[in-house]
Amino acid sequence: MKRDQTKEKPTVTVPQRSNDEIVVDFESDERDMFEVARSVGQSFPRTDALMKTMGLAEYTDDLHFRDLAYGMILRSPHSKADVRLVDDREARAVPGFLGLLTPDDVPDRLYNCSGNPPSALIIPDERILTWHPKCLGDRILAVVAETPEACEAALRALHVEYDVQEPVMDVRKALAEDAPQVQPERSENNLMYHMHLAEGDVEKGFAEADHIFEETFYTQPIHQLYLEPTSCVCHYRQDGKITVWSPSQTLFQERRILAELFDRSESDIRIIKPAMGGGFGARQQLHNQHIGVLLSKMIYRPVKILNRREEDITASSTRHATTCTIKIGVMDDGSIKAVSIRNLLNGGPYITHTPTVGAAAGKKFQYHTEHYSYDGISVYTNSLTAGAMRGYGNIQVVFGREILLDRIARALNLDPVETRLKYHLQVGDHFPAADYDILSCGIEDCVKKAERIRATIDAERPPRDDDEVREAWGIAFCCHSSGPSNRDGMSSAVVMANDDGSVVLSIGSADIGQGSETVMAQIAAETLGIPFENVEVRAADTAATPYDTGTFASGQTFVCGNAVTIACRRMRDNLRDGLARFYDTDASEITDDGQRFAVHTEEGIIFLDFIEAVGKIAFGMKGMVVIGQGSYKALGSPPPFAVCYARARYDKRTDQVAITDIIEVVDVGQPINPEQVKAQVHGGVATGFGYAMIEDIEYNRRAKKTQSVNLLHYKAPLMNDVPRIYADIAEGVKDPAGPFGAKSVGELSAVPVAPAVANAVARASETEIAAMPICRVLPPAAYTADRRDIRFDDTSLQGGAR
């Protein structure tokens, strides 16, 4: 990524600049010449880019340990069963076998693996190991051995008997009166949680509406499909201290869960996050760390557990499948009178995140309506356990909502973009059923920019409508949150200066591959008034970095960014106090414009930038150690907004559909690193495109479990399958609550893609879409831009040409 040269501050050489103090006149304009290059708004390459590109970054599986042993888990091959261990003698005789854990050997204690902070919604209902597996991949037994091969051989040598039972997979069947109970200890009727939100009186609103539109939408379960497999190394030392290395989004929560499970003090447990290959929500929970700790305790050696992809797909968490009924009452002019949303979520057998996922969409209806109701009803089933995933409950509801709004626009002959804009919430408004106001909104600029891109594309390749092909655009709007929408977000930072003016920024926030460490370095550099290169970030180690709620809800830039800003401002305050001591003056005699300190003396003003100020006082005789610390508790969760346009190509001869172009423009407030924002949009579009068109965790009726357990059967788009992507950012928006006006982008970018794709497909093929993946209704046109293909033409080119 090349830095935009035009935006970069010119390097200024000041002839008289030396180690001597520069004394200038009060009124001099030359003061601006000392301003350092700004960091916020610049597209710096990521701080980890070089090491990752060279293959030198160390992920959990790359770490070396003396005496490392390996752990492996026996997972249920059935969706529901009772298990009996008949004989383990052969397993114990496997060369290299070190130990076996059964459900009887682990603390008999319920927990919730979710990495959300404790709340009434995080209900414990899961055990470390179980004799009664409730879904495919559920944990039954674990072994520890000298090698992974010995683990596998030992597991294979266990004589285990399954009493297989009929699973209940479907939410509606699970709610039927005679349905078998999935979690008898927790729920008699398989109802997990019911969240109801309302404003106004929807029945009254529907009675007053000119038209009523209603549809039930189905969204399928999909997997996060991070590249790095889930792994952990756990070391239980003889002195009772525990260290865990693992890809974790929420290490402080995982520490709390482990402490509770094992009756330990949190200070006995240290969690370290090495380089991480993605999370997308799946690492916002405890996975195998508890088993790793218990296996390690048997031998007091570090134990590594590395999931196979099959274990990752079946036994981490999936996106919730939903059956969502949306009813919208509108007037002739398209204004919305009333909305009711009834969202049934398939949670699988354990609660994990489900109640909060079910609530997440409730307060994100971004159009004016007088009457509104939302019901998020989550249900226990024996499907794979569902949990957090990019888009967290919002993406499913936006899918149906934006499709239904498109149908309304078509039925009433209204422009789908104009109508959405006309009735869109603005600054000062609040979301229905929410108690906070919108403080910034750049939706209009999103539309303007998207329209401009669309016009360019259409000028180059006018949409076809002939005997063979019809092409059409579909659009969708969305919003999301910056940090948890319940304002759970909290973070902290410590920044320490070295005597050369460089700093070390210590944060608990976990960079999971999205680049947050780079962004935090930019925020710190900007706040301290130092070059970006002078900030070194140390992050995500519970024993060495300060608390952070966790990397989720797209909250890092907003929540941790605010904490970093506070810590850096405090550092400058401390520095001013130090300067006062150095110059034997009062701190009130020193002003700080964020770039330079001005020490008012009788001879005039002494100006010092950060490096000079630190040079004066750090570690010296009259000096001090300059540290700044700050913590931030989110008071809100500013919504970012996005507009997505997708262009579909329908082949009239074969009924095949292809998506050729996707435009997405996001309002993220002030982008801290614009290229990273655009990279997030690219990733989000790929996530949303795969979701819309092909991805699915499919249930197999004969095997009574999912068949999509590996990358052969679970099909996600590769780079070459993704359409052309046009990413852009709304300009001139600054959220008052965000650091430098920033909001979030990570999840936002994935949310509007599927409905935009569905609306494009519906308009091009004249087939109404109410379920995903679309390949179940219309076959994808998966041919290449190879000239040897008889259907090749320039417009059929998908993202990656040969």
């Binding site: 197999n700 099909k715 219309l778």
Partner: protein, 336 residues
């Protein structure tokens, strides 16, 4: 975990023939199909026979009579990039180009592609996944999960290359029953399809594939969930050529619908009749060539549970045959 096996490298053709057709021998060529199955333990090998790059099994060359001979060990990348194939038999070069990914094509061989295992969502699974269901015909059991009442395996054969070879009337030179034999591609595929639906070893070594000279053109189409890497959901090839007697000939084949590619002979015959003027398109006949081809595929197709699509969508994909037959008919006008 892969079961222990004996590994032998064949340094001469004689050795290769002997080992490959021994009762327990299994040929390891590119390994891109076999090794994943060994890892999943859906297949076991007692004796893995690594074929060294033998001259008899390598290279693409033209014989004196114009026949194109491809060694069994020619990689799919070589086929994709071969100027000769792209000029003479583009449907074959393109079929090879559409298999899997560049990395796989660099290893995968023509012989291996033809010998690939028939695939099924119950068979191509890990040992753990399969541990909850009975063994099927292909894994030594007595049931087909795709059709529990079926007396035979219903897995599909997903070779893209084989479909293209069918319309080229290719011949497969093999070592079988202790002698050199030449099998027409269709017969070869039928034999492979039948035996590969069981756990009976095939005891065959493909040595080369011959493509007779053709004055004509050919096309290949492939449908899949993704264009980047997938096995086909459906594929088809069509060839138009001049016969010895001067008439125009058509060959049409479809794949990924049953245990072997199927030749759409009725449709091809009807097209030939139309092209050569034996009959004219009757305006009162509502059945178009495309519809005829689809019906022919539908008759032969065995619909099984596949990833991501329904039988209805699979049938929809057969419509792309119309694109192929239209192109062949258009080509014929220029040809006559």
């Amino acid at each position: 975990m892969i079961h222990p096996f004996t590994y032998k490298k064949a340094d001469t053709l004689r050795e290769a023939r002997e080992l490959a057709t021994s009762p327990t021998g299994r040929v390891l060529a590119g390994g891109t199909d076999l090794v994943p199955n060994l890892k999943d333990e859906s297949l076991h090998a007692e004796l893995l026979v690594r074929i060294a790059p033998l001259p008899e099994l390598s290279g693409i060359r033209t014989l004196d009579d114009g026949t194109i001979r491809l060694g069994a060990m020619v990689t799919l990348s070589e086929m994709d990039q071969s100027a000769l194939l792209n000029e003479q038999v583009p449907e074959l070069a393109y079929a090879a180009a559409r298999v899997a990914s560049p990395q796989i094509r660099n290893l995968a061989t023509l012989g291996g592609n033809l010998m690939q295992d028939r695939r099924c969502i119950y068979f191509n699974q890990s040992h753990d996944w399969r541990s909850s269901i009975e063994r099927c015909y292909k894994t030594g059991g007595a049931i087909c999960h795709q059709g529990p009442r079926s007396p035979v395996c219903r897995a599909s054969y997903y070779s893209d290359v084989a479909t293209a070879l069918c319309v080229l009337d290719a011949k497969v030179n093999v070592w079988l029953d202790d002698r050199e034999q030449t099998l027409p591609i269709a017969a070869f595929c039928e034999r492979h399809g039948k035996l590969n639906g069981t756990s009976v070893p095939e005891r065959i070594l493909i040595e080369s594939i011959d493509i007779p000279p053709r004055e004509g053109k050919g096309y290949f189409i492939k449908e899949g969930v993704r264009h980047s890497i997938d096995f086909p959901l459906f594929n088809a090839a069509g060839s138009i050529f001049r016969k010895e007697n001067g008439r125009i000939g058509i060959r049409l084949a479809a794949g990924a619908v049953t245990a072997h590619p199927i030749l759409l002979s009725d449709t091809a015959a009807r097209m030939e009749a139309l092209i050569n003027g034996d009959e004219t398109e009757e305006s009162d006949t509502p059945v178009t060539i495309a519809e005829l081809a689809m019906k022919e595929v539908n008759r032969a197709a065995v619909f099984i549970v596949e990833d991501n699509i329904t039988p209805k969508v699979k049938r929809t994909l057969f419509q792309s045959l119309g694109v192929l037959t239209d192109r062949l008919l258009a080509e014929a006008k220029a040809f006559v």
